[in-house]
Symmetry: C2
Subunit: 329 residues, 2 copies
């Protein structure tokens, strides 16, 4: 079933679907004016992040069900707010759609996005729509708030700090490698169970509660979300903090049941949306925060270099390999 | 000259170019962390608007020089902030580029965007980059501020209000029609003079000062920017305010030297980025505001219909014809 997608129809639909009340109520005027109006609570600062989700680059329609594309679109921004220790409050969606896209695809995309928004009490407060020259193009803006001066930054890691990550790494990239090599059938015979069995890839959870916990305790000296892979994102922390790092290969939390090649995914694979943070070596860090496992994977050192240390204590250079999206580069 | 555009190179370049200090200083942490941190001034609300600029939809590389594309990308957001009576403070640019795009094109695009940003004291504070599957894809977020509760809204026009527009209407659509019918050569023999002679299309000015003036005087009952054409944007005001409108054909300010067909452009052509506002019929409105001509073009009436009134006093229905971008629909 293919219906013409006029901008008015899209906006009207988004507006109706987005009119769920927001518990935080920071959005005074949302969709339906030239700009949204957001209230500022005294003593807070505003966080803002923006992320593309482009067909053929960040997702493929033949691999990702529409509600997963919507979910993953929003999680990119929510995860950035988590990494700052913030609370997400509002989202803005710019969405360009091919003229022949079935309306049902758009409905399911919005349904996946709005379900995740409701889960975190985030109001869809505006955006833009256009006809796309090629494929589905989405850009998500997520706005959040944080007590003034308390955001977790990438800069701040110091030699002697321990490095921690939440959850497990490499699961999302492993799913992607299966899709790339053998197509969706590699994930299981039944369509629906594919997506639940591979939920870390299709429906990743942003670590909002962990970020807030870290900010409230003042424990983390630096934090980032692992969206581009451990090596790349740790590299950002090192660069912004002016430090180096040791990573203990055996300590990296990897999902069970994955092939031994999964170390590569854990080090360099993207889209896990876990948090990486540093904390002074002298301060105890619990093994679970907000219900999520936390693992010490290394330590911050002087210098600017990153090293991977194997189980024999041998070091080799750990290059920051940029996460390659589907398109390659 | 074609250079590979790695994300790091783009971000590094944008970061260096964007590091011009902002006079308003609302951006505490910009490019280089998971999210930007914006300060909230007491007594202010935050405005936020987002707009696509897609190649083949909003511009064509063979028609628009790169600095005009950058300028027009930002002006879309600035004009929305103007229509709310706000002050723009920060911008966020999501930019997806084809792998074979010359670096020089990107530099000139950024130069056009950043020149306009400096003119209005707006700091480029973040964004996203990606490789584009097709053409240049930009999405601009502009953040502004307005004293709490004082933003100019689309809702608020009442029967008996007069309708005003700034500047002249139809100039941008007329340029576009020349480009569409006869290509860039239709604009003049010399490349450079084409763009200055047709500046309202290539380098439109956002009416920030007019919006602020209206907000400070409390004169406007409703306001919108004329980005999609007079009929469509007046239609938005009527819809949000629950009113109808009369528009006096002879009163519509049109540029001199245009063919008689220019009435069509003035009524339905987009991208003029002038302001349309309503004010009580009893209140005097100056003929110039902040150096920009202001013209009374009609009045708000009861009901929900819009009418065009000719010089004989005859009414005909004025349909809100959505602005058709280059792609048609």
């Amino acid at each position: 079933l293919t219906l013409p997608l006029t901008e008015k129809a899209i906006i009207g639909r988004i507006r109706r679907q987005a009119e769920a009340p927001s518990g935080r109520g920071v959005v005074r005027t949302g969709i339906g004016d030239d700009a949204a109006i957001l209230e500022c609570a005294a003593g807070f600062e505003v966080l803002l992040t923006t992320d593309f989700s482009l067909e053929g680059v960040h997702f493929r329609r033949e691999w990702h069900p529409p509600d997963s594309v919507g979910h993953r679109c929003l999680v990119r921004g929510l995860s950035d707010i988590a990494a700052m220790g913030g609370e997400p409050t509002a989202a803005f969606l710019s969405l360009a759609l091919p003229a022949d896209l079935p309306q049902r695809w758009v409905d399911r995309f919005m349904s996946g996005l709005l379900r995740l928004a409701r889960q975190f009490n985030v109001q869809l407060a505006g955006g833009d729509t256009a006809e796309s020259p090629a494929g589905v193009l989405a850009d998500i803006v997520v706005v959040g708030r944080v007590p003034a001066g308390r955001a977790l930054l990438r800069a701040g890691a110091r030699a002697g700090d321990s490095i921690y990550v939440t959850g497990e790494l490499g699961r999302s990239a492993w799913t992607l490698s299966l899709l790339r090599e053998r197509g969706p059938a590699a994930l299981g015979a039944k369509t629906k169970s594919r997506y639940t069995a591979h939920a870390p890839h299709f429906y990743p959870q942003p670590r909002i509660a962990v970020g807030r916990w870290l900010r409230e305790r003042g424990l983390a000296t630096a934090a980032i979300d692992v969206s581009d892979g451990l090596s790349t994102d740790l590299g950002h922390v090192c660069e912004e903090s002016g430090v180096g790092a040791l990573v203990y290969e055996a300590a990296i939390p990897r999902p069970s049941g994955l092939p031994t090649s999964s170390l590569h995914y854990a080090l360099h694979g993207g889209e896990d949306y876990e948090l990486l943070f540093t904390a002074p070596g002298s301060r105890p860090v619990p093994s679970m925060i907000a219900g999520v496992r936390v693992t010490r994977v290394g330590e911050i050192i002087r210098g600017r270099d990153m090293w991977l240390v194997d189980s024999h204590g041998q070091r080799k250079a750990l290059p920051a390999r940029g996460w390659e999206h589907f398109g390659g580069r």
